[in-house]
Symmetry: C3
Subunit: 409 residues, 3 copies
């Protein structure tokens, strides 16, 4: 039997991910895109032949994509036509070989990949399920006794055929039949992938591997914080070249300090933390459980706590708590990202036309790229600010700000 090929789906659209406009799998953590973190984990399955399906906008970014030990080819998914469409653009590359489909935009534990390693040599379809305790709008497996015989996409609360949902770690020994099914299945909804999969499962020859570790999707922008937390938990103490740590700096727990980083006096860094190359952490700061990209300057007296900061951000006497800042953002002195409701309740966020409960009682701001914010401004919990915007001084920003805004008064 041939070695399997992995098809890594990385071309999602991500409308609900706004104001973050970087492709979900291209959000950088610890210096690498999420995609690379996932590819490294994929290696634990033993697969070495990888096809990454990407969004057209990422062509340039993907051109330099390498992971030692993997042979990676990239294909563009020209239209946003779902998972089935994504697999089909890779069809010619997997024809005749077993294939393993996975989503590059979620994060699961490395051990799941290890557990999959033995299954991927088998002759049966293999998929990964996860037990849920409340309704989740995904796909559910259908069982006949212990045998899996189908999968249904978003059955609706109360109509779940089981309490096992699918995570899109799907192995098909016979790619040809699978691709044929993807090509011939018709649907008005975005569920061709599941319908085709359902056909295959009817044979009754599939195996469901149940997984109870963490599983973090990147549906909404605040999900970046969950991914960040897990990846921060993997870092170990690191000190780059040419760093400068001034007097009376306290560093506790595992902290990655990139090349040419400077940390000024009277600052405390509480790990796990990641500080990207060339970043300057100013005097009298506190930085806790956060990810700070490359080329940032935190200025005097800044507090960054449990936050994701991309590259090239400038701060000065700010409090940034439980926030996501994509990159190229500056904040004036005294500006605060509030991260708690006064009533301590769960923080909601408007996504499209829906009010989504983030299930978080602590959530700060979610800010796209290239945003400038004035001094002494207060950004309310869960507020999203679109890219290329300017926000004035002394404001209370209590609702989302679209891309390309000027809100000065």
């Amino acid at each position: 039997m041939n070695n399997p090929v992995a098809v890594v789906l990385a071309g999602g659209e991500g409308k609900r991910f706004w104001p973050i406009q970087t492709s979900k799998s291209m959000v950088h953590f610890l210096g690498s895109p999420l995609l690379v973190h996932n590819l490294k984990r994929l290696k634990k399955t033993g697969i070495t032949d990888v096809i990454v399906v990407m969004h057209p906008k990422d062509k340039e970014a993907f051109s330099t994509l390498t992971v030692p030990g993997l042979s990676i080819r990239t294909v563009v998914q020209p239209e946003p036509n779902g998972m089935a469409g994504a697999v089909l653009v890779a069809a010619s590359l997997i024809a005749g070989k077993p294939c393993f489909i996975m989503n590059a935009e979620d994060l699961v534990e490395e051990r799941l990949y290890k557990e999959l390693a033995s299954s991927l040599a088998e002759d049966s379809v293999v998929s990964v399920g996860r037990k849920v305790t409340e309704y989740f709008p995904g796909s559910y497996f259908v069982f006949d006794g212990k045998r899996v015989i189908g999968v249904i996409e978003k059955p609706g609360q109360g109509n779940e055929p089981s309490d096992i949902t699918g995570l899109v770690f799907d192995y098909f020994p016979d790619s040809n039949r699978y691709i044929e099914l993807l090509r011939t299945t018709k649907s008005d909804d975005d569920d061709i992938y599941e319908k085709a999969f359902n056909e295959l499962l009817r044979d009754g020859n599939a195996k469901i591997l149940t997984y109870d570790g963490y599983w973090y999707p990147t549906k909404y922008p605040w999900h970046i914080l969950d991914i960040m937390n897990e990846l921060l938990n993997t870092i170990s103490e690191f000190r780059g070249k040419n760093i400068e740590i001034k007097s009376n700096v306290v560093i506790e727990g595992p902290v990655h300090i990139g090349d040419s980083v400077k940390v000024f006096e009277n600052t405390k860094i509480v790990g796990p933390c990641y500080i990207g190359d060339n970043t300057i952490i100013g005097n009298n700061n506190i930085i806790r459980q956060s990810h700070i990209g490359a080329g940032c300057v935190t200025g005097f007296n800044t507090d960054i706590t449990r936050s994701y900061i991309g590259d090239n951000c400038w701060f000065h006497s700010n409090y940034v708590g439980d926030s996501v800042i994509e990159g190229d953002v500056s904040m004036g002195s005294g500006t605060v990202c509030a991260n708690l409701r006064l009533d301590r309740g769960e923080i909601a966020s408007i996504v499209g036309e829906n009010r989504i409960n983030t299930r978080r009682t602590k959530l700060g701001a979610l800010i796209g790229k290239n945003v400038r914010i004035g001094v002494n401004t207060s950004i309310m919990p869960g507020v999203k600010i679109g890219r290329d915007s300017m926000i004035g001084a002394g404001l209370v920003v209590d609702h989302d700000i679209p891309n390309d805004s000027k809100k000065l008064l």
Copy 2:
């Protein structure tokens, strides 16, 4: 002659004490209610038999009231019927014994109690007077030569019979006659206590002990700061069990650090200061001449100066100067209690329908229990905020806020 019984008046109503709703004598300082501080001082008179007259709401709080060396009984004053009413609810317990009446809500120097010790063995009425240099709305003694022959309540400015006011440290060797007078005296005003006292003084057999030490009443909420200052002056260096003091913490002058307190890096504490049990003083703070209760968290970069903070308060990058915060209060990052008028003038406060000059040029906020304040809000000097309120972000609060308010814009 029998040993005297002390009747400690602790059941006052305290409308002018708003937004503080703890009974005046139950405001805690250094871990004990003001009442206990006063009872400890009372011991210097040699009295051991004490009756505390309390407000109905304090029944539970008073149930655990003990002071080593004192035999304490409590009685409830069911109605707000003044000092005379308060003494009368204790009447059956003092009948036939000399009695010493004192107010639990004021603070005087310990030496006054010592000086009283010898007088309380005598057969004459003894009271304590205090020389005033300007009109004070209290009771004034009337003298015939050097002999005191009466007392008049609130004579009005210009009508003072002397410059000696009474402080309610009153000793009556014959409780029975005194109680009889309290029972039979009638008045439309709240001055039965003084009218009955006046009757007794007519005998001309009374002694006035003049006292020139400090005397702090707790009429208005800002008076808590005066009491705090005096009690802070009594503390000595103390370090509780299980404390954690991080590096580069400077502690100057006498500071009481309660059990399980943590003080984080780069913080300075300038005594006299009291830090209650389990409180966390964050990084890069300055805490000066203040009282911070138990279970508080001061967060990063907070300045608390000459302020009274009750239990369970949360701060983060705040300036709290010359302020009184009853307890269970949180402030968002960047919120400031301004403590100086721009013109450096004396700060006024509206109490009921009156504009009261606090006589203070430095006075911050006065905040009741269970108040949540957002980020970057500015509270003007002398502003009072009622309990169970929420105050939004980025506001300038320049007038009092009633209990149970939501002021978000």
Copy 3:
């Protein structure tokens, strides 16, 4: 030949210098007025006989004016009648002697004075020119070949007779003729000085010394920052008497610390910096490349960067960047002088009826004397605040504030 007399022009009006109302030459740097710095430099010419022409309001300030090695006389220019008027009030004192005219309100390098030393013994008129690369509204020399034959005031862009402008360092061996010309020249504009000078230059016997070092005028208030920078560059490490430097203070680069200065814990001072006598630098500050006058208090957690602060200013948790504060100013906690536009553009300032491009991308506030500013207020880049004003709390000040203002809401 007689020794020359210097006529130092220090009596300018300075309307465009608002909100700074100290005479330009009397703005203090490093403990001395700009005038004294210039007189010390003047000594390098060898001149010892000096006449300072002053504004009537400076009579008292000038009464104590001494510079070792110089014989200084002062005369008042009673009316604002320009440079010609200024020289004429000194006419009787310079009659019969060579005279050297210079402006006390500009700053040039010491080496220019040294270079002038040899020229001032000569028999010809000597003046200093400076090559410009774009139009500057000053006086331009007219050349015939290499010989200077005239000077024209503000020729207008495109009409410049040369690219050499005059700096008002002018030497006249024959004062009598020069004064006669000043007396007899008529003009409707403020250019009598230049017209008379032009007459003298017609002789063709003058020498122009070209100078390519720095030249800083004090036309607009932000020019104080340029002067400050140059003078800060001249200071060397100095520690006054009776200073107190607490633990964990970091001082880098040349810093002048005046007598009785205190610097509190966890503060960093990055030179070149000047800290005047009796000033208190509080805890957890950062002070960079700034001039702080005498008797100031910076309070807790203040950041003063590239700013000029006069005497007796009070701060508390402020950010003051690229700002000029004349003196006797206080700022409430959390108040910020923003020093960058959101679009990073050059900052403009309205002067009279003109919008002046300051050519600075970093410029904070420009504040006159005796101004009180509340807490959490944001002052926008380039805003000017007139003396004797009060600015309330929580405001965004985005336009100039006249003298004697009360802006509380």
